[in-house]
Amino acid sequence: MNQAAERVVPELVELRVPCRPEWVALARLAAATVANRLNITLEEIEDVKLAVAEACTAVIQHSGHGAFIELTCEALSDALRVRVHDSGRHGTPAGDGGPAMSFDEARVAGLGIFLIRTLMDEVSYDVHPQLGTDLLMIKRLAPTP
C-alpha cells in the first residue's frame, strides 16, 4: 500500500543485521517499505530491493561471519537515499572481486555491482580506513506535476 500522500519526510530507518545470507531478505524488505512511503512506482521499489540485496550480498561475500550489515534508508522529499555499511572491509569497493573469491564468485559479484549501478540513479563509495566502507545509493523521485 502506497501512502505517499500521507507521508512525512524526511524519515530515516536504520537496520543492523548479522552479516549472513538469511538476513538479506529482511534488509531488502526494510528498504522496500521505506521506498513505498515515497511517490515511487512498484517497478522502482523492486529496483531498490534488488540494489539493496546486491549491496548486502557483496558485504557478506567480503566480510567474515560475526560482522554486521548496517542499512540506513532515508526517505527525502525528492529521493530515497540508502547507505549500506560494511564494517569488515577497509578500502575495497563492493563487488570488485576481492582475493578471497573464486573467479566465478567474482564474476557474480561483478554482476551485482553492475545491477546496483544500473538500477539506482547515483552510486558512490565512502571509504574509511578504520571504520569500513559505505556504499551510498540514491533513487531520485519523479517530479510531482
Partner: protein, 114 residues
C-alpha cells in the same frame, strides 16, 4: 522467504526444474544443488521454469549461468520459462536474455530444446 524446487522428467532425457519463491544469496544454494544433481546424473537438456519466481538476484543468475556452462560442455542447453516482467527486466539489463533461451510457456521452451 523460501524457494521451492521441483524436478520432473518431461520426456526422454529432458527435465523440467520448477522454481517457486525467491532466489537470493540464501536460497540459491538449494537451486544450485538441484541443477547440479541433474547434471551429475547426465541430464544436459533442461527447462527451468521461473513463472512462480517472484525475485531473483545476481547469485540466482550465477547459479543459472553455472548450470548453462556445465550443460554446454556436454552439448546440452538450458531454456528458461519467464513471464514475470520484473524478472525479465533483470535478464534484459544484464544481457543474459541473449545467452539463455527465454520463453513465455513451458511448451515453447521444451520444443526449442536442442
Amino acid at each position: 522467504m523460501d524457494i521451492k524446487v521441483t524436478v520432473r522428467q518431461a520426456h526422454g532425457d529432458c527435465y523440467v526444474v520448477d522454481l517457486s519463491g525467491e532466489i537470493d544469496v540464501y536460497t540459491s544454494p538449494k537451486v544450485k544443488e538441484a541443477i547440479g544433481e541433474l547434471i551429475d546424473r547426465g541430464v544436459y537438456h533442461l527447462v527451468i521454469n521461473l513463472e512462480k519466481v517472484r525475485y531473483i538476484d545476481s547469485t540466482g543468475l550465477g547459479v543459472l549461468i553455472g548450470g548453462l556452462k556445465r550443460v554446454r560442455e556436454h552439448g546440452g542447453s538450458v531454456n528458461l520459462v519467464c513471464t514475470n516482467p520484473q524478472i525479465k527486466k533483470i535478464f534484459d539489463i544484464t544481457g543474459l536474455v541473449k545467452i539463455f533461451g527465454m520463453f513465455e510457456s513451458e511448451d515453447a521452451a521444451m520444443k526449442a530444446l536442442v
